[in-house]
Every structure is written in structure tokens, then in C-alpha cells.
């Protein structure tokens, strides 16, 4: 038996994860509503996501849904329980290059870092990669330098 996850989302009442999936053999597209139990505004979303991912009745359906996707859905549910709007939740997932991350609380910061991790992991060279070089050096001083738009005239003190 195999299923291909197409889309997923949440339903606020009762708190549930909604999954649209295709049954690979029959090509039928179905909707599955998975109630999220024992989850409150104080719960740990990553533990809850992990529990759901390994749930014997749902795990086959959720195979194609990543842990971080499930975490996101739980965060949306939890934010809703805490009285935050959906827009607020969605905004917290976006990486805004102008946002001052120094002002975030631990949770929000961890979420932003989680998003940065996608690219980090993709570009990461590990010790066991065949082309790993510990002391990798590249000289950029010879490349043509244009002026950086990040330095505006008013900053001339630096």
C-alpha cells in the first residue's frame, strides 16, 4: 500500500491536520483528517509532530510529509490556541531580510533558524564527503569590486 501526500493543512475545530493524498495504485485522491489529541497551547510542537509522524495509524500516509512541515502545522494550531491569527503564524515562517532577529524570543528565533537550516544543510560539506577540505581557502580580493549598496554615504564614519 502506498500513498502520495499532495497537500496538507490544518483545521482549527476540532484541532486536526488535514491531508490530501493520492492512493498510488487506484490513483484516487482522498482527504484524511487526523485529529490532534492531547495538544494544548503549552505543548511542545516538535514532540507532537514526531509523535504524529510515528503514529501507527497515520505514518504510512504521512511518509511524504517532512517533520518540519508537521511542526509548522502544529505551530499554527498552537498559535491559534494562544489567540494568534493565521496571518501572524504565516508571517513568522517567512524570512524577512530586514527583520531584526535580535528582538525575537527563543521559540521564534529557533523557527527562523530552522528555515535557514534548509539552505545550510543543502550547501554543507561534511567531513565524510569525498571532496571535503578542512582548510578551504578562496581568495576574493582579486575579483572586481563594485561598491556595496549596503554602505550609504551617511555612514561614512565607518
Amino acid at each position: 500500500m502506498s500513498f502520495e501526500a499532495k497537500r496538507c493543512g490544518v483545521q482549527f475545530t476540532p484541532p486536526s491536520i488535514v491531508l490530501i493524498y493520492e492512493h498510488k495504485e487506484t490513483k484516487h485522491v482522498r482527504k484524511r483528517i487526523i485529529p490532534v489529541r492531547n495538544f494544548s497551547k503549552y505543548s511542545d510542537y516538535s514532540m507532537a509532530a514526531e509523535r504524529l509522524k510515528n503514529h501507527p495509524r497515520h505514518r504510512d500516509y504521512l511518509e511524504g510529509v517532512s517533520q518540519s512541515q508537521l511542526e509548522k502545522l502544529h505551530i499554527i494550531l498552537r498559535n491559534h490556541m494562544q489567540g494568534f491569527s493565521l496571518e501572524h503564524s504565516m508571517a513568522s515562517f517567512r524570512l524577512d531580510p530586514d527583520e531584526d532577529l535580535n528582538k525575537l524570543d527563543d521559540d521564534e528565533l529557533a523557527r527562523k533558524k530552522g528555515q535557514m537550516d534548509e539552505l545550510f544543510e543543502k550547501n554543507r560539506k561534511r567531513k565524510d564527503d569525498p571532496d571535503f577540505v578542512y582548510d578551504l581557502e578562496m581568495d576574493f580580493t582579486k575579483t572586481a569590486q563594485e561598491n556595496c549598496s549596503w554602505d550609504d554615504e551617511s555612514d561614512d564614519g565607518f
Binding site: K103, K125, L136, F140, E146, C148
Partner: protein
Amino acid sequence: MACDVGSIPELDQKKYDSDEQVKIICLGDSAVGKSKLMERFLMDEYRPQQLSTYALTLYKHTATVGNKTVAIDFWDTAGQERFQSMHPSYYHKAHACIMVFDVQRKITYKNLASWYKELREYRPEIPCCVVANKIDADLKVTQRSFSFGKKQGLPFYFVSAADGTNVVKMFREMIKRALDYKQNPSDFMDEVMQELENFDLEKKENNSDEDGLKAQSPELV
């Protein structure tokens, strides 16, 4: 706790006066990659000591420079505002500073100015460098020039903690500069502090046999 210089009870900072003990600090906004850079440099050697109350992580490293073995403590703290009050002890006795920004977020570059200003309040002379991290995300940024620090002659590095570009080079050069500075310190801050402390003690001792009122407000006499 915030203002007491060198007062992290779990840590004895006196050791940094000895020749073989070096302290290098790292500054920069949240999520610019300070911790990832340390981890990339130290690889397996990395055994951090965490003091979560201060959002402080110490990474210990041993290096051989010339024929000398030195113990280097890298001090890493969070860029988050709520931790910024621990800084006096963070700067105390530091021998070099690595300032990091994220090439994908302009605001982290702009904030270098305030990190640098704070650094210079405590450590006017220690060697410092500017590090542009995450160049793997967009190699085009390396064609740009970033003028922050140019005037002060701070070395500048394009690096990536993800693929490792220039990370080891940057750390090795900073260790070297920290050692040079240690041999020829030009910051008198620590010495002055120490004298002030001694001065306070003497004053207290002198006052101790006078009457209480006087001792409490000597400047009014």
C-alpha cells in the same frame, strides 16, 4: 550581575593573564552563524561548555603556534537583546574579537556599528576583524566591497560555515593576532580596573576605624 566586571562565578578569568591562555570573543546579531563558524573550525575537537543563564558557550581549543602550545577559549554569546547585559564580563580580558554578519541580511551588517562601538568601550585596542558569513548562499556578494571597518584597518573575510570557505584561515589568523597582542598589549583597561579595585579596598580599610557616618559619605566631608 550585569555590571560587575569579570563576575561570572562559574568562570575564573584570571587565567587569561598567563602567557598560554588566550580569550577570543565573537560578536554579531542573532542567527548570523557565530556558533556554526566555531563548530566548523573545531570540528570533532569541539566540546563546548554551556552556561545557559548567560547564553554563553565556551569552546576550548589547543593550538601550536611556532613552538608554543596555547590554550584558546572562544567565547560565543547569543545576539538576542535579552542577553546583552552580560557583556562587561564577556569583554573582560579578551585578546581578540571576531565580528560576524550575514550577507543575506543587511540589518546584520548595519548593526556591526553598534557591536563595534560597544567592543571599543571595553577593549579599545584589541585586534578585531569583520566576517561576512553565508557566502555559499550567493557567491555574487563576494564581488561587492563592504567598507565597514576599512577606516580602522580591520581585516575582512568572506566565509561560509556551511561549505567551510576561509573559516580555518580566518580563525588561524585571529589566533595569531591575539597572541601578538598578548605579547604587546596596548589596552590598559584591565590594569586600570585592577588598580581601581585596590583603591576601593584601601579606602574601605582607612574608613573602617572612623565613625560610621563619615565612612558612608566621605565626599561630603
